[in-house]
Every structure is written in C-alpha cells, then in structure tokens.
Amino acid sequence: MIILVAEDEMMMLKTIELRLKKDGHQLIICQDGREAIRKIEESSPDLIITDIMMPFASGLEIIEAVKRKGGKRIPVIVLSAMGQENVVLQAFQLGADDYITKPFSPNELSMRVKRYIPESIST
C-alpha cells in the first residue's frame, strides 16, 4: 500500500517511516503541509497519515485538498496532540477517517493502518 505521511518532526517521521516500511508499505514522506498537498495532487496514495500542526499548511488543509481532488477515495488518519479535541472534531467534519492521539505506540499505528489495507492487497 502507498502511504503518504505528513509530519514536521523529523524524529516522529523517521519512527513512522521505519514502522510502516517494516510492514511492507511504500511511503511518500512530506515534512510540511504544502509539500503534502503538492504530492497528493501529483500522486495517488492509498492512505494519508497527517499531523495537524505543520508549517505552511495544516493537516486540516490537507484533508480539504484530498476531498477537493476527487477521484478514488483516500482515507485520512490524523495525528493529534492531547487537548486538541476540537481540532479532531473539525477534522472529522472535513472528512477524516480516524485519529491517533500523541503519545501513541508505533505498533498501534501499524494496527490502525492495517484496517485500511484494501482486501485485494491483504489477501
């Protein structure tokens, strides 16, 4: 599965990258929101994992960009810090599919991602 990961913290990005690569996924890595929006328009990922607070464009703007793009439906998992419940609600209103609150376990992320693997790939 091709997963686009948008996260501005290098450490978190590397951790997510290593975990998901271990699971056999292909990754498109973005360190800011604007880069993520550009890459979503250029490529066609199967899943998007995005942080909310990022430079240039937020995770919410990424969700809007995904919905604007149309075409195949791309699920979005939002990474949020504790106490950002209002933003998470906003993300769901915009069309996010799931969210994980920091601090999170990389293994939990891996399991959540598995839920979005299309049956054709998982079998």
Binding site: E9, M10, M11, M12, T15, R19, K102, F104, P106, E108
Partner: protein, 373 residues
C-alpha cells in the same frame, strides 16, 4: 544671530576644510575605505559560509540522530534485550553539543510515543549517559538551564536523581521550583506532593493545574495527609489541598474544610465551598449559611448554589430574605434555589408577593425560561 546664518557659516567652514585636503591624502582615505569595504565583504562571505556549514552539519546530525533513535525504538519490542546502538561516527557522541542534539530529539520522541518504544528511549538515554548531561544542568547557576535539566530528567523518568530534584522544590526561582515540583509528581504521583510539607513559596494557580495534570494515581493510599496541608501557614497550599480533597472525594477532611470556611482568604472559602458542593453532609446548609454574611458576592452566590443542591424547606426563610437583597444577581440566585426547594416548585414564583413587580417579574421569567430549556 539668526539660525540660518549660523548654518551657512558652518557649511563654509566644511568647504574650506575640504579645499585644504591635498590629493594624496584623499587617495589614502579612499584606499583605506576600500580596504575596509573588502574586509567587510570578506567577513560577510566567510561568516555566511560558516553559518551555512553549521546549519548543514546540524541538519545532518539531526537526520543521523533521528535514524539512530528510530532504530532504537524498534530494537526489541519486548524491551528486555540489551540495546544495540548503531551510529557511524562514535566520536560525535563525546561532543557535548551533539549530545544535547540527541537529548533534544529523544525528549519529544518520549513525549509523543507510548508503549515499548518509550522503554527503549529510556534505555538509550541511560546507555549514552545522557542523564549525566541533564544532571549537570541542575548544578548550573542560570535558572533556565537548571529548569531545563529538571524537565529532561522528569520526562525521561530518571527517578535516581530525586534527592537533588527534591531540594529544588523550594528554590527561590519560580520556574526551577515549578519544574522540580512537577518532576516529583510525575515520578511518584500523589506521593510526590510531599514537597508541600516543606515549601514556603506560594504555588500559583497555573502551577496547581500543572501539578494536577502530572498526577497519575487513580486512588492513592495516604490521603489523610491532605488534612495536615489544610492547616499550612501557606495559603496557596490550603487552596491546593482543598482541590485535592475535592478531586479524591476525601470524605474525612470535612471538619477541616468547615474550618477553612472561616478563613478570611476568598480563594480558600471558594475552594472549601467547591468541596462542600461535591461532598455535602446534613449540616452543610447550616454551616454555609453561618458564613453567608461574611462573604462577598461571589461567595454568597456559591452558597446559594450549594443550597440548591443540599438545602431543605427549613432554609426557605433565609432564601426568601435574599429575594430582597440589593443585588439583582443574588436575588436571581435565591429565586432559582427557591424554585427547587419550595414545595410548590417553580409555581412558587407566581405566588410571590412581588411577582408582578420589577425586577422580580423579569428575574422570575428568566428562571422559568432557563428551567424550561
């Protein structure tokens, strides 16, 4: 002399000066300026190059550190095997600046991750002896470095330094003691509040919230110590202990809380009332009514709100009297409580003698609307 005549005279002397400068001197001055300019440009170029080099090195270090840490996180999911650190340039690990970069990456990772990953991060912190770097900061004279060191040790759960951190819980610098107090609570939960026995400085509202946020005990065992803190000469400790008693529903502190109601401090009274709202007894309405006349408007409103919860028909005369208070907000609060306690319920408002008179008619109408909503 007129000012403009003065200006002309000055300009004249400047022109005279320049006419006296010979060509050779002028060339020397221009040459000197050019040399200075070249030196300045050279300095700017070298400095920019140096800054870029540093920024590039920083970026490279950060990437290497991120790779190293992310590999450590997945080292062994069971967390029992010894940690294997793969890093190309071991010499770098002896540089204090590089070590600080590692700390600056490990700390947010520890905050953002959970599960076995955090155990591996702690192992990494100890294996690289980064705890010693953080501990060194505790000895620094600058308060912000000291505070940062405490924060790092607290996040990385370095309980072995508790003795030194405890000493800083009553430090004269607010940031240092706040960090030390939070560290203690994050280490031991409720047990960590033992610094309340010794601290002489006030604990700010913000710090009280931070301390409660760091609290992770579900039900601590020695809650009776709260009653001792309620007798502290430090008023902020009394306020905080009242909050703790309310949070843990500590029933046994009731008598001490009633004594706190008589304290002249407004915040102490309000927090005591908050406790009594949550943990009332049969005598609570009489106890709070006894304090009613000593309180300001906010306290009076809090007492009327408690009566709404625990008052009985016995307290109707007191409430009816409050309907004639000069303050309309108090009138409204008393009317609302009456609408709950009176045998006629909300219909009582229509039977009142002043039901058609202003401001009672407006107040009663509002209460009816509020209750209907």
């Amino acid at each position: 002399m007129i000012p403009w005549q003065n200006t002309i005279k000055m300009h004249g002397s400047f022109i005279h000066f320049f006419l006296q400068v010979n060509f050779h001197d002028l060339i020397s001055v221009i040459y000197g300026f050019l040399v200075l300019l070249v030196l300045l440009i050279a300095f700017i170029i070298v400095y920019t190059f140096y800054k870029r080099k540093v920024a590039y090195k920083k970026k490279l270090w950060r990437e290497n550190i991120a790779i190293m840490i992310s590999q450590v996180i997945f080292n062994e999911d069971d967390g029992t095997a010894p940690l294997q650190i793969s890093f190309d340039d071991v010499k770098l690990l002896h540089k204090s600046r590089f070590r600080q970069y590692v700390i600056d990456e490990v700390i947010p990772a520890k905050k953002n991750l959970s599960g076995s990953a955090t155990e591996n991060l702690k192992k990494l912190f100890n294996t690289l002896e980064l705890d010693k770097d953080s501990f060194k900061k505790l000895r620094n004279k600058k308060w912000h470095i000291k505070a940062k060191g405490i924060q790092e040790l607290a996040i990385m759960e370095q309980v072995k330094y508790v003795k030194e951190i405890f000493k800083l819980t009553n430090n004269k610098n607010e940031s240092v003691r706040n960090e030390a107090q939070c560290a203690l609570v994050s280490f031991y939960g409720f047990e960590g509040f033992r610094f309340l026995n010794v601290t002489t400085h006030p604990i700010s509202q913000w710090q009280q919230i931070s301390l409660l946020n760091n609290l992770h005990d579900v039900q601590p065992s020695n809650l009776q110590v709260i009653e001792k803190w309620m007798q502290s000469p430090n008023e902020s400790i009394i306020i905080f202990s009242l909050k703790l008693a309310t949070l843990y529903s500590w029933y046994y502190a009731y008598d001490q809380v009633i004594r706190c109601l008589q304290n002249p401090d407004r915040q102490i009274k309000l927090n005591a009332l908050a406790y009594l709202t949550k943990m009332p007894r049969e005598d609570t309405p009489d106890e709070v009514i006894a304090q009613y006349s000593f309180g300001d408007k906010k306290i009076k409103l809090a007492i009327l709100a408690i009566l709404q919860e625990v008052g009985t028909e016995k307290h109707l005369p007191f409430l009816l009297k409050q309907l004639h208070n000069m303050d309309d907000t108090i009138k409204a609060a008393a009317a609302k409580t009456l609408s709950y306690l009176h045998p006629l319920g909300i219909a009582f408002l229509h039977t009142h003698l002043f039901a058609d008179e202003y401001p009672w008619n407006a107040i009663f109408l509002q209460i009816e609307k509020d209750r209907a909503a």
